[in-house]
Symmetry: C2
Subunit: 604 residues, 2 copies
C-alpha cells in the first residue's frame, strides 16, 4: 500500500462522514472548467497519484476507483499500483461509468457528493438523472474537501494581466457588439466563467495557465452599462486599471462573484450551461430568469476579422522561419551529434525564442520518433526520450504564442529509409491534408461534416485515425478553441441520433487541418496546417467559402509517392511550396538554410 | 368564387360546428402515413382543388388556407384562384406554420381539430405543444369529416395480394428474426401500420398504391406465437390464406385493429412513433406499456442479403436492356419523327413492358427537356409536354418493379449542342456521381455524412443541389425506403443541433447515388445509379465498406469534358462502361443497337 495515498483517502473519508455522504467524485477540473488545470486544482492527482490530464477519482467508505480514457490506461495501471485504487476503463461516459461503479459499491438511496464548483450546471443535471436511474442520489457540495484536507496545497498561479494592444477590434467595439447580441437574445446580463472568452472580450491577457495566455476571472456583462470583472485586482497594473474604469469595466474581488449573483433581484441572465459551474448556478435567485444558450462570445471570438487574420499570418511567418531553421539544422547535424526527442524539441524552442515578440509555447511540444509517434498525444521524457537514429518517422507537433497570434503545426519527417507502407501511409495523410485545404463548401455548412472530405483518401487506403481532423485556434489565446470542430459525428446506438452539438463553418474561422495515420508499435504520421475560412464565390446557388492555408513551412517530400497524388493535389502542393519559399526565403540569411529551403520546396 | 369548392368548405364548417370546433386541418395522408396517397384519401385535393402531392388545408369559420412547399407554389396559386383559399408558403414546418396561421385567425383557447387517423402519434404531440405555445388547443378527432361530407368519394383500391415467392429469406426466417429482435428490446408485440414493412415481413405483395407493390393492412406481431394481419380477407387467395395459417399468420378484418388493441390488457407494445397514427395510439389501454423505438423491420429490410442483391442485379440487367434499346431508338429517330417528353416516356415504358416479369413502373416517369429539367420533380403533361428539338438536356428519371427488385435510374442526355457551362455542369455532376460510387468508408458511419463526398466536385464548381444525394430503395417494394439517406444534415439555428435522425450505413444497403445541378429557366442535370454497400476490407483500423454500382446503362459521354475528370474518376467511368457493355450486349440482338451500345460505352 502506498501510505500517503492511503492516508489522503482516509482524510477524504472523514470529510464524507462529517457531511453524511457515502461517496465522492473528484473530477479533473477547475471552477472555470478549463481544458488545462493548474497545480492548485490538481486534487485528483494529489489524492490518487495518477498524473494524466483526464480522469475522475471515485471514493466510497471502503473502495476507490479511477476512471480514465484509453490514452492513459497503461500509465494509470502503473501509477495506481500499490494503492487501493482500481482502474476503471472509460467505456460509455464519465457520468454513466461513475454511476455504474457507485451502484456496484453502494446501497440504493445512498448519496454521492461532488464539489459544485467543479462540474457544469448541465453535467450536474445529467449526472443527477443517471444516478437517479441507478437509485443513487447526487449531492452538490459547496465546501470543497481540498480546502481542508490538502496540506501543502500549491497556491494558485496569479500573474500580471496586460492589455492586448495589437487587437484590431477594440474593447469597446467588442463589448458593444456583445451587448447588441444580448439585447437580441432578450438577456439583461451575460455571466461567463470561461477564461479565454473573458480574456478575448476585454482584450486582456495573462499567464495563469501554462501556455494559455489567460487569467483567473469571472465576468458579468450587462446588456447596457458597466461590465464587472471578478478578479484579484493586484494582478492589474494601475494604469490598466484606470483605462478599464474609463472604458466602463469595473473590477470586483474574484471571490465576490457568488455574492453579487445572489444580490441580483430581477432580469434575465444568459449563461452557457456547459461553461458555468453548478455553484455559480446555485447563486442565482429564483427572481432571476436563466437563459441557457451558447455564450455569444464563443462565436464572436471564432469569427476572426481580416485584420486579425493578417496579424495571425505574421505569427505564422515567424513560426515558419523558426521551423525552417530548425529542420535545416536537423538535416545538417543528424548523424553528427546525438539527438533525442527532447533535445530536438529544445532546439526548436530555442529557434522560436529567438523570434521577436515570442511569448511562450502554445502547448507542450509533442516530439515523437518511431513507434512513439503512434501515440497521438505522446510527450518525451524531459530527460531525453528516444534517440533519433536509424529509420523512422519523427513527428513534431508544436506551437507558440505571439501577440499577433497562436500557432499550431505538425510536420512528420522521414529519418533514414521508408518502407513501401510507410510511403503509402505518408502519401495518404498528405492527400487528406490537401483535400481539406482545397475544399469549397456552402457558407454555414456544419463544420463537422467536412471531415469525410479529409478522411476519404485515408479510408481509400483502408486506414483511419482516432482524433478529429480540426479544432479552432485562438488569436493569441488557447490553441484549442470552440465552437467549430472538423470531426465527423458518431451515432448514438441508443437513440439513432447524433450525440454532439454542431457549428456552422463561417468566414474568418481559423481551424487546424491535421489528419494522421497511427500504426501502434510501428509509426505515426500527422501533417497539420492552420487554415482560415474565406469567401470564395456568391451566385445563384448561394455563398461559397474556401480555406486559405496560413501555416508556412515545407512539408517533407521524401516519403511522398508523387504518382499517388491526383493532379489537382500535386498542383496544390507545388503552389503551397512556392508560397512558403516566397514568404520565408527573404528572412533567411544563412546560405545553408537557403539551400535547404529551396530543395525542400522544390516542385515535384 | 369556385362554387363546388365553396359548398364543400361549407359542409366542412357545418361538421366543425356540430363538433364544437373552431378550425380543422386536412393533411395529405392516409391512416398508414404513406408517401403516396390513394384517391380514396385525397380529401385535401377534393376540398381545395389543389392537386399537388404535399400540403395541408387549414379551415376556420371564415377563412381557409393551403400550406405547401416551394415545388408547388406556382401550381397552387393557379389552382386556388377563384376560391377563398389563400396560399401559405411553407416556411418553418407544417406544425409551426399552421399554428401561426390559426393564431392569426382564431381567438386564444379556441380549438382546432384534425382526424386522429391522419397524423402520427409523434406529430400529434408536436402539434399540440406548438399550438399550446400559441394559446390554441389541438383536438384529435376519431370521426373523419370525409366519411360524411364527401359525396362520390372513390372507393379504396383493394387488389389481390400475392406471395413474393422469389424472396430468398422465407416468411418464417424473417418472423423468427423479428421475434428475436422484439425479445431483445423487451417488447411483447410489434405494432406496425407501415405498408412496405408489412409487405416485407410477410413476403406478400399487392398493388393497392400506384407503383408501390403494397396492400392496406396493419400487423400485430408478438415476440412469440401467431402474428395477426389486419386486412380485408377477400384480397388473399384461398391457397395463400391456408399457407399463411400454416405459417402462424392469422387474419383479422382490417377495421378490427383498434378493437384488438383495446382488448390488450398487459404487455409491452413496440411502436414507432413516426409511423403509428394517433388513433391507433389512443386504442392502447393504460395497462399496456408503449415502447417508442424505431420499427426493427426498417433496418432488417434495408440490409439486403447477397442473394437479394443478386436478384436485384437481375432486375437491373433487365432495366438496362430496356434503357439501351430506348436510347438507341431515340438517337436513331431524333429529328425523323416528332418527339415530346411524354411520347419518349411512353416509348421507354413500352420497352420496359416487353421485359419478362415486368410488374409496373416504380414511380411516375420524370421526362423533362430543356428548362423543364431544372424542376427536379417535373412531370410532363399527359397530353405531350414539351417538344424535344433544338439543343438542351433531356433528363429521364424512371424505374420499374420486377419480382427480382425495384429499379430507379436517371440519365441526362444531351440533345443538339452544349455550351461550355452545360458541359462544365454535366462533368461536375458526373464527377459527383463517381466520387460517391468510389467511396470507401468505415462500417457503421452515418449514411448522411457521406453526402459531402458526392457534393465536393459540385461545390468546387460553385454549384449545389437542393435534394438529397441518395435514398434507400426497396426489394420489389417502395422506390423510397428508409432508414438510410445520403443527405447532409442541416443545423437548427435555434438549438445549434442537427435536426434529423441518423442511420449507420451498413453492408447490404441499396441506395441511390443521384447528384444534380439545376439552373432555373435553363437546364437541369441528374445522373443516378443504385449502389449497394458491400464489404471492402478488415484490418487493424476496423472494418471498411465500399459501394458496388448495380445499375447497368451507359452514361451519356457527349457533354463530358474528359480533362476535368481526375485519373481515378476516368478509370472508374471506363471500367463501368466496359461492365455495362459486357453485361448488356449479349442480350441485344438488333445490329443498330449493338453499334449504339458499343459507341456509347467507348473508352475515353
Amino acid at each position: 500500500m502506498n501510505p500517503s495515498i492511503s492516508s489522503r483517502l482516509s482524510s477524504l473519508r472523514l470529510f464524507l462522514k462529517d457531511h453524511g455522504l457515502n461517496g465522492w467524485i473528484v473530477p479533473t477540473a477547475d471552477p472555470h472548467l478549463s481544458e488545462y488545470v493548474d497545480e492548485h486544482y490538481a486534487f485528483r492527482k494529489w489524492l490518487s497519484g495518477f498524473t494524466g490530464s483526464a480522469g475522475s477519482l471515485l471514493v466510497t467508505e471502503d473502495a476507490a476507483a479511477l476512471i480514465t480514457d484509453s490514452r492513459y490506461w497503461v500509465q494509470a495501471e502503473q501509477q495506481l499500483e500499490g494503492s487501493e485504487i482500481k482502474l476503471v476503463k472509460l467505456n460509455q461516459s464519465y457520468a454513466e461509468d461513475s454511476a455504474d461503479w457507485f451502484a456496484a459499491h453502494l446501497k440504493p438511496n445512498e448519496c454521492v457528493g461532488i464539489c459544485s464548483e467543479l462540474i457544469s450546471g448541465k453535467d450536474a443535471k445529467n449526472y443527477a438523472r443517471i444516478f437517479a436511474e441507478k437509485h443513487l442520489l447526487l449531492s452538490l457540495i459547496r465546501q470543497a474537501p481540498e480546502e481542508t484536507i490538502w496540506e501543502d496545497r500549491p497556491a494558485r498561479t496569479e500573474r500580471p494581466v496586460f492589455d492586448h494592444r495589437v487587437s484590431p477590434r477594440s474593447r469597446q467595439q467588442k463589448l458593444t457588439a456583445l451587448q447588441e447580441a444580448l439585447k437580441k437574445a432578450k438577456a439583461d446580463y451575460l455571466l461567463t466563467a470561461k477564461l479565454d472568452d473573458i480574456a478575448w472580450i476585454f482584450n486582456l491577457r495573462g499567464s495563469d495557465v501554462p501556455d494559455n495566455p489567460v487569467f483567473y476571472a469571472y465576468a458579468l456583462i450587462p446588456a447596457k452599462g458597466t461590465s464587472t470583472l471578478f478578479i484579484n485586482e493586484e494582478k492589474i497594473p494601475t494604469e490598466l486599471r484606470l483605462l478599464l474604469a474609463k472604458e466602463a469595466v469595473s473590477l470586483a474581488p474574484y471571490h465576490s462573484v457568488g455574492q453579487v449573483l445572489s444580490s441580483l433581484t430581477s432580469g434575465t441572465v444568459l449563461a452557457d450551461p456547459d461553461e458555468i459551474n453548478a455553484s455559480l448556478h446555485s447563486h442565482l435567485s429564483d427572481q432571476v430568469s436563466l437563459l441557457e444558450l451558447p455564450n455569444p462570445i464563443e462565436r464572436m471570438k471564432a469569427l476572426k476579422t481580416l485584420e486579425e487574420i493578417h496579424l495571425i499570418s505574421e505569427a505564422m511567418l515567424k513560426d515558419g522561419i523558426a521551423l525552417v531553421q530548425f529542420f535545416a539544422w536537423l538535416d545538417r547535424n543528424l548523424g553528427k551529434e546525438e539527438m533525442t526527442e527532447q533535445s530536438v524539441a529544445e532546439k526548436l524552442l530555442a529557434y522560436r525564442k529567438s523570434l521577436p515578440g515570442y511569448v511562450s509555447l502554445s502547448f507542450e511540444t509533442i516530439s515523437a520518433f518511431g513507434p512513439n509517434a503512434a501515440l497521438p498525444h505522446y510527450q518525451p521524457d524531459k530527460s531525453g526520450g528516444a534517440l533519433i537514429k536509424g529509420s523512422g518517422f519523427l513527428l513534431i507537433d508544436s506551437g507558440a504564442q505571439f501577440p499577433e497570434g497562436t500557432t499550431d503545426i505538425t510536420r512528420t519527417k522521414l529519418i533514414g529509409e521508408a518502407t513501401d507502407l510507410m510511403k503509402e501511409d505518408y502519401t495518404a495523410v498528405l492527400r487528406a491534408n490537401i483535400r481539406l485545404a482545397m475544399a469549397v463548401f456552402p457558407d454555414g455548412i456544419s463544420s463537422q461534416i467536412l471531415d469525410p472530405l479529409a478522411r476519404e483518401p485515408i479510408w481509400q487506403h483502408f486506414a483511419n485515425f482516432g482524433h478529429g481532423t480540426g479544432h479552432g485556434v485562438g488569436f493569441f489565446l488557447n490553441v484549442h478553441e470552440g465552437p467549430q470542430r472538423i470531426s465527423y459525428p458518431r451515432i448514438s446506438p441508443r437513440t439513432d441520433a447524433f450525440i454532439s452539438k454542431e457549428t456552422a463553418m463561417s468566414e474568418g474561422m481559423v481551424t487546424s487541418d491535421e489528419p494522421g495515420i497511427y500504426r501502434p508499435g510501428r509509426w505515426g504520421i500527422r501533417i497539420e496546417n492552420l487554415v482560415a475560412a474565406e469567401f470564395a464565390e456568391e451566385n445563384e446557388f448561394g455563398r461559397f467559402l474556401k480555406f486559405k492555408t496560413l501555416t508556412l513551412c515545407p512539408i517533407d517530400l521524401s516519403a511522398v509517392i508523387p504518382e499517388r497524388l491526383q493532379p489537382d493535389e500535386k498542383k496544390w502542393l507545388n503552389e503551397y511550396h512556392a508560397l512558403v519559399r516566397q514568404k520565408v526565403l527573404p528572412h533567411i540569411h544563412d546560405e545553408r538554410t537557403i539551400v535547404w529551403l529551396e530543395w525542400n520546396t522544390r516542385e515535384i
